[in-house]
């Protein structure tokens, strides 16, 4: 895949805080996303992985402009997302939803749903739009006869194809896919993933691919960002992440994938049983309470923030900014 150098999409030092409630003396905040920077080049597929509640979906919504971040900015082709007109943002970035059952208006037909973005953008006459909707059905591999069906007559996989067709209607450059297969049957998941890969080469798309499923990310992504409690703790090309993981959390995640061996049982990750609480971040490195290889400095000093193409935010990683200190 050819990649030009200028990023078409950037996330610069974005943070998102939610106020949890305030008393007279102090306010409590939940930092769902903490100073995250990411870049996406044309043709790239950026995988965003992490466990539930680590801020993946919040970050995806910030990228879509659905949430205004409390700090930092998102840039689309070098322009601040907040300054780009609504319709232009829509024609550049589209979203593929996690749950195809709630993403389609139950009162509209499939054709109407796929046409909807064209209608909103005033593209073409009614006949043109219907024509385009039929073409998009072909593109996503749905039979033409479904064009007048309501979504209730479609299976989960078919609905997700409709969601993808609708996202493609405006010919965007970037698709943000928020766990696009997690609501689907295993047998259908691979069909949707392969469809997304085919569309990437056909339309020159770039993806931001949010998932907790590492196998899916390995299959799809060109680079991977691992998220833990609102921060990207490791970022690297897909082969490096899976071949040579640096951060202890990434290693634990890779071990957590169940082997197809019924006798093996659930692997012990050395992560302990404590579930992290994003409202009360630990001091120092945010991963140290669960880290199997933590050293004393981890609980007092936060590791240096990672920048560039490849990084791991850990005191113990060779070559990271804080390992030298």
């Amino acid at each position: 895949m050819t990649q030009s150098d200028a990023p078409i999409f950037e996330v610069n030092a974005v943070s998102q805080e939610y106020q949890l409630g305030s008393s007279l003396f102090r306010r409590r905040y939940l930092r769902a996303v903490d100073d995250v920077s990411l870049q996406l080049r044309r043709g790239e597929v950026l995988g965003l992985v992490g466990e539930s509640g680590c801020g993946k979906t919040t970050l995806a919504k910030i990228m879509m402009g659905l949430i205004q971040p409390t700090a930092g900015e998102v840039r689309l082709n070098g322009k601040r997302l907040a300054d780009v007109p609504r319709l232009e943002v829509a024609s550049r970035i589209q979203y593929v939803f996690q749950d195809p059952y709630s993403a389609l208006n139950p009162r509209h037909s499939v054709g109407r749903i796929i046409e909807q973005p064209l209608r909103i953008h005033g593209v073409g006459a009614a006949a043109d739009r219907a024509q385009k909707a039929r073409k998009l059905l072909d593109v996503v591999g749905l039979p033409q006869r479904l064009i007048d069906s309501p979504p209730s007559q479609l299976s989960g996989g078919q609905r997700q194809r409709v969601v993808i067709a609708r996202a493609l209607a405006l010919r965007p450059d970037i698709l943000v896919c928020d766990e696009p297969t997690s609501a689907l049957d295993v047998s259908v998941q691979s069909q949707i993933l392969n469809l997304l890969l085919d569309l990437r080469s056909e339309f020159g798309l770039s993806y931001i691919f949010v998932s907790h499923n590492l196998a899916v990310v390995e299959h799809m992504a060109t680079s991977v960002a691992v998220m833990y409690l609102g921060r990207i703790v490791e970022h690297a090309a897909t082969a490096d992440i899976f071949g040579n993981p640096q951060h202890p959390y990434t290693r634990a995640l890779l071990h957590s994938v169940l082997a197809p061996d019924p006798g093996a049982g659930i692997p012990d990750l050395g992560l302990g049983r404590t579930v992290p609480n994003p409202a009360q971040l630990p001091t120092g490195c945010r991963f140290h309470p669960r880290c199997p290889v933590a050293v004393p400095v981890c609980s007092t000093k936060e590791p240096a923030r990672g920048r560039g193409e490849r990084w791991a935010e850990c005191h113990l990683v060779e070559g990271s900014a804080s390992a030298a200190a």
Binding site: R86, V89, Y95, I120, Q158
Partner: protein, 298 residues
């Protein structure tokens, strides 16, 4: 490519033709709706059906009892009132007033209530706080008292009845629309429309309204019934439709003095009012059953 189960092809049939068979099986709805149609025809065709002019007084036939009682005649099948006006003709013309008031009031209040309710449900936050306060304030106002005050100020007429009721009966629309809009506001397809760059108006009109129009229809039928009863009540109190106009509420009021000797003066318009309101409510209940997404049909 399509290993997923294939949905049956339905062609381009609109929803109405697909669920029409279910409507036929719903006894309550069919009964209520048929009676409504009969009443509507009665109102529309009143000039052709009425045997007499509803305003023509005839002192020779005053207090003539209906045909099934002693002294009745086919000349006045439902008898004649205190000044000899043909009761059947007045019933026919009265249906016009009742249905006209019911429809106009419902249209007006539907417009106000839906706008407020959808705005409150969709925007939430401060807008919701303000509109919820308006709804609560409206619920604290007794309709009849307001009608009394307005009539005292500007006098009674059909327009005043419609305006007063229309401007006061929107509370149920607002409450139902607010709740249903809140339910679907955070659905992914609304987010999808936002992501596509839709404006608030486009989202409300194209995404939300098609999903709440069922509930709107149900509330509207029930509201028609309420408006008809209230019009009759206001006319009975003398603050509704003014005197010579044939209104069922007014006819009941005029028969009040003779209730012990000629109860048919009250029972005939009362029965028509009862049947019309019952039929409207049955239609509304039936609509609610039939438009419920899955099942619930009897």
């Amino acid at each position: 490519m399509t290993a997923a189960p294939v949905a049956p092809a339905v062609g381009a049939k609109p929803i109405v033709t697909r669920i029409l068979p279910r409507w036929r099986q719903h006894t309550g709805f069919m009964l209520g709706f048929s009676v409504l149609v009969v009443f509507a025809l009665m109102a529309i065709l009143a000039p052709l059906l009425a045997p007499h002019d509803p305003y023509a007084q005839d002192l020779m036939s005053r207090m003539r009892p209906p045909v099934w009682m002693d002294g009745g005649s086919w000349d006045h099948p439902f008898g004649a009132d205190q000044v000899g006006r043909d009761y059947l003709s007045r019933i026919f013309y009265g249906a016009r007033i009742s249905l006209f008031v019911g429809l106009c009031v419902t249209l007006l209040s539907c417009l106000i209530g839906t706008t407020l309710g959808v705005a409150a449900g969709y925007f939430g936050g401060r807008v919701d706080t303000v509109i919820s306060f308006l709804i609560t304030a409206r619920l604290a106002i007794p309709v009849v008292l307001v009608a009394l005050a307005v009539v005292a100020l500007v006098g009674s007429s059909l327009q005043v009845v419609i305006a007063v009721l229309g401007l006061l009966l929107w509370d149920r629309f607002a409450i139902v629309m607010r709740a249903t809009t809140q339910q679907i506001r955070s659905a992914d397809f609304i987010v999808a429309a936002k992501v596509q760059g839709a404006s608030h108006l486009q989202i409300v009109v194209q995404e939300i309204l098609p999903n709440v129009v069922n509930n709107l229809l149900v509330v509207a039928t029930l509201e028609i019934a309420q408006a008809i009863v209230l019009e009759a009540a206001l006319s009975f109190l003398g603050i509704g439709v003014p005197a010579p106009t044939p209104s069922w509420g007014l006819m009941i009021a005029e028969g009040r003095a003779d209730v012990f000797f000629d109860p048919w003066l009250i029972t005939i318009p009362g029965a028509f009012l009862f049947v019309l309101v019952l039929a409207t409510n049955m239609t509304g209940d039936g609509l609610r059953d039939l438009t419920a997404p899955e099942g619930r049909n009897r």
